[in-house]
């Protein structure tokens, strides 16, 4: 459905580690596996980061060891569902793992990092990032298309989505059925829509993609 879909995605991992040597070692490790990495010192730096719309980002963050969590980071994770986060901690505390998983992180890794689980989490994170990227690009594309409509066409569109037939719309807007049909044809063309269901999809955004656990796929 996305028209500007790029076949080759670039990706970037943001690394927020507890100290300099861990940060350096993790950057080198992930670079050896072919990932682009950027080390960040603070959540503030993540907030100010110049995100590029064409790049899939995933944040790997050390969440510390405190049972009470890391408030700044926690706030960031909860308020920015568009950036997949992998939480890492040198405490393999069950409560923390549950807390961060519920917050929507794509993984909770205990340190020292096991390479297999690290790579799996990174792949999950980037896959999700790409889904979110596609989702966002599609939203932008739909928004652009909607801007092509005239005011009348937009009115007709809203009534179509409300479930009205052309004759109902004609009565409602005091137009002839023929004129309404013409508006409908035009707006369908301008929006490049396949049908009414597609129109609804353009107007009402679906939820931001989330990581689907293997067990959820069978639901």
């Amino acid at each position: 459905m996305s028209d500007n879909h790029q076949s080759t995605h670039t990706n970037c991992l943001l690394i927020h580690e507890a100290d300099a040597s861990q940060s350096d070692s993790l950057v080198q490790l992930l670079q050896a596996y072919g990932y682009d990495c950027v080390a960040v010192d603070s959540i503030g730096q993540v907030q100010r980061y110049p995100f590029d719309d064409r790049v899939a980002y995933c944040l790997l963050a050390d969440v510390g060891t405190s049972r009470h969590g890391n408030s700044k980071l926690d706030d960031y994770i909860q308020n920015n569902p568009q950036l997949p986060v992998i939480a890492m901690s040198c405490s393999s505390n069950v409560n923390m793992a549950v807390m961060y998983t519920r917050m929507g992180t794509v993984g909770f890794l205990s340190k020292p990092l096991q390479i297999d689980s690290l790579l799996k989490a990174v792949e999950d994170g980037l896959k999700l990032a790409r889904q979110i990227m596609d989702y966002r690009q599609q939203r932008i594309e739909y928004k652009n298309r909607l801007e092509r409509l005239s005011q009348r066409e937009r009115e007709v569109l809203d009534l179509v989505i409300d479930g009205m037939s052309s004759s109902q719309i004609a009565r409602h807007l005091n137009l002839s059925v023929k004129t309404v049909s013409l508006h409908r044809t035009n707006l369908m063309n301008k929006l490049e829509a396949d049908g009414v269901v597609h129109l609804v999809r353009m107007i009402t955004p679906g939820p931001i993609p989330k990581l689907i656990s293997p067990w959820q796929r069978h639901l």
Binding site: A18, D19, S21, Q22, D24, S25, L26, Q28, L29, A32, Y33, T65, S66, C90, S91, K111, P112, L113, I115
Partner: protein, 293 residues
């Protein structure tokens, strides 16, 4: 040193005493406690002092527990990342010899960083016979700070250092001096943990006063200050407001301090919080430090 009041009555005796005693159970618990308390008060015998100070160090190290384990995990974790990075590069047969060498050295360095922490702790809890040597006061403070840092990090306590950069060397027992500073530092940290103050901070400061004759170490915190009830009995053994502590910290520190002809004071600061100050004379030679070895 002064004797604290000896327990005079049997109020602390178990209520079951006199009847229903377990066969073979000869000493009442209260007797045992009283005996230990008296011994702790009589820290003047060198052997006893040595034993008790060792026990107290062991007890101190138990407070470091989890924070220390986490702190060990950091260099380990970095080391594992570096070696895994080498493994990958070797597997891909896509490597530069120098690059690989650099990674191995980094892995090595991180592993040593972990080992250093373990060595430091082991030295601190070792049952070494006290030995007088020439010491650098700031180095001793830094040793202690290295041990206390994990605990501070775990509880988000800021640990600030203000070290005088031109201190003369002095004579003393390395471990005992560290133990005194450690006790003061741990007291400050624990009062901050217990009181849940905002922006907790400990400042450790070294200085030279009294016409360059005395070394000083201040340990300041921004906690609630001294408990009014405990203040008069501050240096008595087994006096504590905390449930998990022996209450030996300050008593032991004072005794060790006196062995080094030093002084120890603990006060509430005007601005709130506690300030513990250790004074140590500079011009001491090995013979002047009595009873230590």
């Amino acid at each position: 040193m002064s004797h604290p009041e000896k327990p005079t009555n049997n109020a602390s005796q178990s209520p079951t005493s006199g009847h229903g005693q377990v066969p073979g159970h000869t000493a009442e618990p209260s007797d045992v406690f009283r005996c230990v308390a008296e011994d702790a008060a009589e820290l003047t015998t060198p052997q006893m002092m040595q034993m008790l100070s060792h026990l107290q160090r062991l007890n101190l190290s138990s407070h470091l527990g989890i924070g220390l384990a986490h702190q060990l995990n950091h260099p380990m974790s970095a080391s594992v990342n570096y070696t895994q990075c080498c493994v990958k590069k070797l597997q891909d047969e896509n490597f530069d010899r120098h690059e690989l060498l650099g990674l191995m050295q980094l892995a090595n360095q991180e592993a040593f960083r972990a080992a250093e922490l373990i060595t430091r702790l082991r030295r601190f809890v070792s049952q070494a016979v006290p030995r007088i040597s020439t010491l650098n006061f700031n180095h001793k403070i830094l040793e202690v700070v290295a041990l206390l840092t994990p605990l501070c990090k775990e509880h988000d306590i800021e640990l600030k250092l203000e070290l005088h950069d031109d201190l003369p060397a002095f004579m003393g027992d390395r471990i005992q001096i560290e133990q005194i500073i450690f006790n003061l530092g741990l007291n400050a940290i624990q009062s901050l943990i217990d009181s849940q103050m905002s922006d907790p901070c400990v400042i450790i400061k070294s200085d030279l006063v009294d016409d360059k004759k005395q070394l000083v170490c201040h340990v300041m915190d921004n906690g609630p200050g001294l408990d009014v009830q405990i203040a008069p009995h501050l240096f008595k053994p087994f006096q504590t407001t905390r449930t998990h502590c022996l209450g030996l910290g300050l008593a032991m520190s004072k005794a060790l301090c006196e062995l080094h002809h030093g002084q120890l004071t603990v006060e509430t600061q005007r601005t709130g919080g506690c300030i513990a100050t250790l004074f140590l004379p500079v011009t001491r030679t090995a013979e002047n430090v009595k009873n230590v070895s």
